[in-house]
Symmetry: C2
Subunit: 297 residues, 2 copies
């Protein structure tokens, strides 16, 4: 893997699409000015996190891929000569929508997409209502800056997803994310445990696969946006980060501010770690069949 | 899962088997006196870490299961009414040896065994010479204190092993371990990264599976014990620990001292975490087939 400077664009999102894209554009520009060859945006960065309620009108927020957001990202990428990982509420067909990460190469072309495979459905994260689970599998996207293992948010809790991307040759794992604390969760201990768990499991993917991992989260409070059964709102916890191939934190953003963090990732370090800890060599692929079961009972 | 108090018996090992077993017995006794219902010993706690060289005479250290070590453990378990996870260099047949964890119930009976599935072979860890990879798969052992997902050392780097134990109903993951720094590794940063990676990936298994994880390591310097191609010796790094189901550290031993650490684990907490983060529900078992491949190329 080549060395690569990554720009993490951590920003707030509101109901104003133009404002959201403006924040993203400003961050991508700062990343490019700071020497980043790749910029990563949070999950669904063009919209509020509308999944806090199940509300049919939110399907109006969806768009095709390619479509307005990928064209906008393509223009920025071409102008700034920077690759971009963005995120779109994709309308694929009537009644088939996906939570889709899009990968734009430095020439502005759409290099590939990833449709979120693991879909949550938990209080204030009613994603199963909106998103059909992805059917493209776990395929990294080849770009001029490397082969990128792009996954999305809830996927980050699944070692299987990270492993499959790594086995398919991903040189880096990248998670656009929208995760936060329920605003009614008042326990500082529980908030710390949740944040730490989110970091730990992704650092664990770095260790297990000997790969750098990038997570970019939105930040700030968002209330539910219409519809019934609304929750109390989410405090998106930021903490966008890059972990190196031993899970070590190479850079981390704050938990409450918009910022663009530029983190250099050393490709030679990845190769060195994979030589001292050659985990892929010893996988017991003859004994993993039951991973394809829901439960072993 | 019921709540359970676990005793982590972190000790040194030398070439003197009686001395090693004596250290183990003292620790198990302290654990029982402190109210632990389960004691866990380090990997291969009856012998020095003989895998630092490939030396045919070391096969003399092996023994059958059941055999002297399980009988000794059984006597302690029965006397102290404590379940024990121990570790044995198992001679199964001429030319077939395993690195085997043994699980003794509180009545002294051999409740089950686990034969290490992932076998390392790295400088000073020449385990492929000694140990045939396990052929019993990833099966938890039912005991009177719970269904224990016992794995061994190198397995701890494999999310697949943790997942398979959890899917088979393990209520806790337990790793007897022998891991340390190469004594010629002088970089404090590299030492810290290695130790942190070892902790992080196991905390990650806790998060991914919503389960407590116990790791018990040996401690102290051991030189190679005869044979050719000897390395400079290993500084086993201790840091035996228990992580809760969000990966949070519930207790941790020092990196340089023998000690018996008693850590209570709250079963209700495990159930609560598995309700707020129901990861098993959303696994894409329709899309995991390639986990059975060595590499996707």
């Amino acid at each position: 893997m080549n060395s690569l400077s990554v720009g993490l664009v951590q920003h707030r999102c509101t109901a104003d699409r133009e404002e959201n894209l403006g924040r993203g554009a400003a961050g991508i520009r700062r990343a490019a000015e700071g020497g980043a060859q790749l910029a990563v945006l949070p999950e669904l960065h063009g919209t509020p996190y509308f999944c806090q309620s199940e509300f049919v009108e939110h399907f109006d927020l969806a768009e095709p891929v390619p479509g307005p957001t990928t064209e906008w990202l393509g223009g920025l990428a071409r102008q700034l000569r920077i690759a971009i990982v963005g995120s779109v509420f994709e309308r694929r067909a009537p009644g088939i929508y996906h939570n889709t990460a899009v990968v734009i190469d430095r020439d502005g072309s759409l290099a590939g997409r990833y449709r979120k495979m693991h879909i949550p459905d938990d209080p204030s994260y009613y994603e199963k209502f909106y998103f059909t689970p992805g059917d493209l599998g776990f395929q990294p996207v080849q770009t001029s800056v490397g082969k990128l293992g792009v996954l999305v948010c809830w996927d980050q809790w699944y070692p299987e997803a990270a492993r499959l991307m790594a086995l398919a040759g991903a040189e880096m794992l990248i998670y656009p994310t929208a995760i936060g604390w329920d605003s009614e969760e008042k326990s500082g201990d529980e908030r710390r445990r949740q944040l730490a768990a989110w970091l730990t499991i992704q650092q664990g993917h770095a260790v297990a696969n000997g790969l750098p991992v990038v997570g970019v989260n939105r930040v700030g409070f968002e209330s539910a946006q219409g519809g019934g059964d609304e929750g109390p709102g989410q405090i998106f916890w930021g903490n966008s980060f890059v972990a190196g191939p031993q899970g070590e934190i190479l850079g981390m953003a704050s938990n409450d501010r918009e910022e663009t963090l530029i983190v250099p990732v050393d490709g030679a370090r990845t190769e060195a770690v994979r030589r001292i800890w050659p985990f892929f060599r010893d996988r017991r692929i003859d004994a993993y069949q039951d991973l394809l079961k829901r439960f072993i009972d």
